[in-house]
């Protein structure tokens, strides 16, 4: 099908375009921008006057809860939520039940996702069997099955020799290793940042050194092995500084932050709000400022939703017992725009952190609107204000710390592979 999107403001961070410009889609590809190609006949015309036409968002961390946790969410519900949020590609961590540690599971997920004809799914496979941190998974087989990287998700890998070997092996074949830095001993039983709020509330705490010690280990081993390391969900100022130094020294490291940590701090826990029970824990305002500064100067490459739907009952518990996580797919775009507005950043610069940059981390030729590129697009109204109401979210997970907050930016159309998969 041919689609003509007219009168929109085209923003393509990779090609540094931010202009009023029509775009023409033929089949699954972008056929032209500006003037129509010769003989182009559109079967559908989208009038995007007042709207922004952007590459579809790419989310580096979205838990879809399949297989194993279907009571929390299903592929169907979360894929709908993704496209409703303008997300056209997403990477899912391996902490399902069973974990994504064998090719059959990865193939099954990819196949199920493909049949839904919504967002593209890029599974991140387990680095070690059952995420136990003892034996390596069959990495080549998993890559053949369609996984894009290897990770421990939030499971600890305490044996540094196993980590060293895993990185060496992955480096042999050029595979990426994605790790969230957290020392499991220092973080044991902890549920909040070790600071004033945890002290006041009497919550078991996770100190910043739990992040920096683990980060130091993985950066040292990355330097040693030459593996492509992606640091997931950085949470502290000290962590940002370490990644900044490592990048200056030429270590092949990239890094992301969750949108929650760009906007919230431990103060938002207030009177034990279980919606702020998140992994990693929300840290201090000073840490939040450093994360934002790291995003601005490129130390942190990408913002992800860190979407983790949980069922309502699991949140109706005292803070430390409440399940960690929040829904996020439908809030990624508004929270990017909010960040841009607060830090006086162009919309294009903000969008780059959820389009072209994560595409590079995933090793994909995606996240841009070049002629000939696959037509994955997000068309949104940047001026529509709306209030976050859990019941109105498509995600099966209804818990978010942003409940009741007014946000800006509403998705009107999402296109994947040249097809309109969402109309808002």
């Amino acid at each position: 099908m041919n689609i003509h999107i007219k009168n929109g403001r085209l923003i393509d961070p990779r090609n540094q375009i931010d202009a009023r410009c029509d775009i023409y889609i033929a089949g699954n590809l972008i056929a032209a921008t500006g003037d129509a190609p010769a003989g182009f006949i559109a079967q559908e015309v989208i009038d995007a006057a007042g709207l922004i036409v952007s590459p579809g968002l790419i989310d580096l961390a979205a838990r879809l809860r399949e297989p194993g946790y279907e009571y929390m969410a299903t592929l169907e519900s979360e894929m709908q939520a993704a496209v409703a949020g303008g997300i056209t590609s997403l990477a899912c961590p391996p902490d399902t039940d069973p974990p994504l540690d064998e090719p059959g599971l990865v193939e099954m997920l990819k196949h199920r996702a493909k049949n839904l004809h919504q967002a593209r799914l890029y599974p991140v496979a387990a680095l070690t069997t059952s995420l136990k941190g003892l034996e390596l998974t069959e990495m080549a087989e998993l890559v053949d099955a369609g996984c894009v990287a290897f990770s421990q998700a939030d499971a600890p890998l305490t044996d540094t020799r196993v980590l060293y070997r895993a990185m060496q092996y992955a480096a042999t074949f050029g595979y990426s290793v994605w790790l969230r830095p957290q020392d499991s001993f220092l973080a044991r039983d902890g549920v909040a940042h070790d600071g004033e709020v945890a002290t006041r509330c009497g919550l078991p705490a996770i100190p910043v050194c739990a992040e920096t010690i683990a980060l130091s280990t993985m950066l040292t081993l990355a330097r040693e092995t030459g593996v492509k390391l992606h640091v997931c969900r950085l949470s502290s100022a000290a962590g940002v500084e370490m990644v900044r130094e490592a990048k200056q020294q030429g270590v092949a490291v990239s890094c992301d932050v969750s949108m929650n940590h760009v906007h919230l701090s431990d103060r938002d826990i207030g009177f034990f709000d279980p919606n702020c029970r998140l992994t990693p824990p929300l840290r201090s305002l000073r840490d939040r400022a450093a994360l934002r500064a790291g995003l601005l100067d490129g130390t942190i490459d990408a913002i992800c939703s860190n979407h983790a739907p949980v069922d309502e009952d699991a949140k109706q518990l005292p803070f430390a017992q409440a399940e960690s996580g929040a829904t996020g797919l439908e809030l990624l775009l508004p929270l990017l725009l909010k960040w841009a507005q607060q830090d006086n950043l162009s919309v294009s610069d903000a969008l780059s952190r959820a389009t072209v940059r994560p595409a590079q981390i995933l090793g994909l030729d995606a996240g841009h609107l070049s002629v000939g590129a696959v037509a994955d697009l997000c068309i949104f109204d940047p001026d529509e204000y709306w209030t976050v109401e859990p019941a109105a979210l498509k995600s099966q997970g209804k818990n978010t710390p942003f409940t009741g907050m007014e946000v800006q930016g509403r998705v009107r159309f999402t296109l994947v592979d040249g097809k309109i998969v969402y109309r808002g």
Partner: protein
């Protein structure tokens, strides 16, 4: 942020923590407790009918004999019907959630819950959940708060020292894991105590505890010098397993309250402890049973203070 303890008239509806508790409410409770103390001491019949016809449910998800008993006595002296539930050993082990348990008790027409739970924030969760006419009293939640203990401590201090604005108070021991210490610190600073000290090794102090308005000491002699009130904390045995301390003996040597160490405090200093005491670990028997100890008065006053809290809540408008 809305104070979850107060109703829209600014009256106390739940008692969850001493943090952010307005000083006028705190003083009202202490004054009211003083009048109940007169009732208890001066009359043949100790009961007053303030909670007549009301049902008070003591819901203890964590074992406690003394706190539960003093709440029970307080409620009975206010003529309430009292139901005691030790949930620790029944419902939750059958898989029922905290709020399921509370819903069931609400269906039995509870008017007031007195709740103890091992998790910080449990009382806040329950207060958010119950119908607006129901009152919740936090009888201890995890490491977070134990407001009636702190209020009875304030009552005891006022009883012996009359005023707060000229006092030095030292809190000694495991502040990190102590809900009592947190509630005491908020209550003392709210009532205008100019100098609150905490004395403990670094492993038993939470991060940035000084931001709660206290001075930090690691040495007992320095910390106790010239104080008017010594508030001892209980040391749990499991601290030795968590690598927070080498041994009970070593703790006693450094932080146990002995007559020698107490001599650095003012001669008229009083010694308090929330109980149950570990003699020979945090406190020497000669101090615990000595002339400066007011530990048993705390228990007596605890009933009057809990009567004051319950009747204050019951008297708030809906």
């Amino acid at each position: 942020m809305k104070n979850p303890q107060l109703n829209k008239h600014g009256e106390l509806h739940h008692l969850l923590t001493t943090e952010g508790l307005p000083v006028r409410i705190m003083r009202d409770i202490l004054d009211r407790a003083a009048s109940f103390l007169d009732v208890a001491e001066g009359r043949e019949i100790k009961k007053v009918p303030l909670l007549h016809g009301k049902s008070v449910f003591n819901v203890f998800f964590e074992n406690s004999t003394r706190t539960r008993t003093t709440f029970e006595i307080a409620a009975k002296r206010l003529s309430a019907d009292v139901v005691n539930l030790n949930i620790g050993s029944s419902s939750t082990s059958k898989g029922e959630t905290l709020l399921d348990t509370i819903d069931n008790l609400c269906a039995m027409h509870a008017d007031m819950f007195v709740v103890r739970h091992s998790q910080s924030g449990a009382a806040h969760l329950i207060a958010r959940h119950v119908a607006p006419e129901i009152h919740v009293i936090n009888a201890g939640d995890g490491r977070h708060a134990h407001p009636t203990q702190a209020l009875l401590d304030m009552f005891t201090i006022r009883h012996y020292k009359q005023e707060f604005h000229n006092l030095r108070v030292a809190i000694v021991g495991d502040v990190l894991h102590s809900r009592v210490a947190r509630s005491q610190i908020h209550a003392l600073t709210t009532l205008g105590v100019p100098e609150v000290r905490v004395i403990a090794p670094k492993t038993l102090l939470p991060t940035q505890v000084e931001n709660l308005g206290v001075r930090v000491y690691h040495d007992m002699v320095e910390g106790l010098r010239d104080v008017d009130v010594v508030l001892m904390l209980r040391l749990q045995n499991e601290r030795m397993q968590g690598a927070a301390l080498p041994s009970g003996q070593e703790y006693f040597k450094n932080y146990g309250l002995t007559e020698e160490k107490l001599a650095y405090a003012r001669p008229d200093a009083i010694v308090m402890h929330p109980g149950p005491m570990n003699r020979g670990i945090e406190i020497d028997s000669r101090v615990a049973d000595g002339a400066q100890s007011v530990i048993l008065s705390q228990v007596t006053f605890g009933i009057a203070v809990r009567m004051a809290v319950m009747s204050t809540l019951a008297g708030s408008k809906q």
